[in-house]
């Protein structure tokens, strides 16, 4: 990454995810690369293809790069490799916990077995939790119930 590209990358890293404001776009790993070659190309990888925040994120990327003085900006979408919760690093997982959302399991390569693992309540840390629904308030979340502190909470869905 050139110095110029690194500068753009750092600026993009200040934009927070519209649905999970605890994390930035780079922490969410939805920005794959930045290339400057006459024009600026940002490669973007959506969490879920139907995510309604996608249009807003793309607009924010464009505004951010334009504010750095660039005129020609292309945003490319890539599914190679597909976005996966495995990409989130430990720092991002801790920020999710602090925000009240349980992080995904470390390995989601096999979704069915990832769903078998114990899930800890982000508030009381208990593992006495049950999956209420694999669908939640956003495409990337599922609903759990903590039997220990008797609270519902959400978790980032392993994918």
């Amino acid at each position: 990454m050139s110095e110029e590209e690194a500068r753009i990358w750092n600026e993009l890293g200040k934009i927070t995810d519209p649905e999970i404001p605890a994390l930035t776009l780079t922490e969410m790993k939805v920005i794959r690369s930045v290339r400057v070659n006459g024009k600026v190309t940002v490669v973007f990888s959506p969490t879920y293809v139907g995510c309604p925040a996608t249009a807003q994120i793309m607009q924010e990327i464009r505004t951010c790069v334009a504010a750095l003085g660039y005129r020609e900006i292309a945003i490319e979408t890539s599914f190679t490799p597909p976005w996966s919760t495995d990409m989130l690093d430990e720092d991002a997982r801790e920020k999710l916990r602090m925000f009240g959302i349980a992080p995904p399991p470390d390995d989601a390569s096999d979704i069915a077995s990832a769903l078998e693992l114990a899930v800890h309540c982000p508030s009381c840390k208990s593992d006495q939790t049950t999956l209420e629904s694999s669908f939640g308030s956003a495409l990337c979340r599922q609903i759990f119930y903590c039997r220990s502190c008797r609270q519902s909470f959400e978790r980032i869905k392993p994918i």
Binding site: Y48, V49, G50, C51, P52, F79, T80, P81, P82, W83, S84, I111, A112, E132, S133, S134, F135, G136, S137, L139, I143, K157, I159
Partner: protein
Amino acid sequence: MKPNTPLQTLLLSLADDELILGHRDSEWTGHAPILEEDIAFSNIAQDEMGHALVWYSLVETDTGRTPDQEAFEREWDSFTCCRFVSYPKGDFAYTIMRQFLFDQAETVRLESFLESSHPGLKEAAGKIIREETYHLMHSQGLVHRLGDATPESRKRMQQATHMAFPQSLGIFEPLEGEAELVSGGVFAGNRSLQAEWLRRIIPVLHSVGLSVPADPGGVRDSCIPDYGGRIRDHNEHLKELVDNLQSVYRSVPGGTW
């Protein structure tokens, strides 16, 4: 408007299936029997429309026609979805059965695309198949629960199976120019996908005692597949749906938020 190439025909049929079923799924928002299902169907609707967007975007790279133009500017009798996805949502048993039969078909279809000679199709399938895992877990789980719960739920699920099964065979209605796609390694072809799909759905249905109007591996003469959708021969259900789907877009052509 007719698609120009067999690849466009395939992509539009995929996209239209997802868009129309997604719209039907969205009709449960605010109306599902329990809150969790309300949320589930709202999520699934959003996912399916996202998948439609991916397939329409692949068409766009060929034709320059945008996803919005495909979804909102075409007449209802230009859509090439199977008829199956256009029928009214019915009761919750029918909704679950339709979703299960479709999710299994979509999974089989996507697995075939993972081997495709077409890079765009292959890349998109790799993304979408992960999301579909959750759809299939959900619908298959409910087939198990409702198919084997109370006398009323068994009765409803059996009725739904008899109604949905012949319709669902329409997913695999042959496409114009399909032979060319099969020989070019784009996908395995509908005949082979249907055979694989039957191998997967029949044991699930039998395991909860639901009878299917077909023999595993082959369809009985008495079970007439509901074809027509792929050649744009639809019925009033699709017309009504598309009128509704396009009403806002058409009321302010070119409008933006």
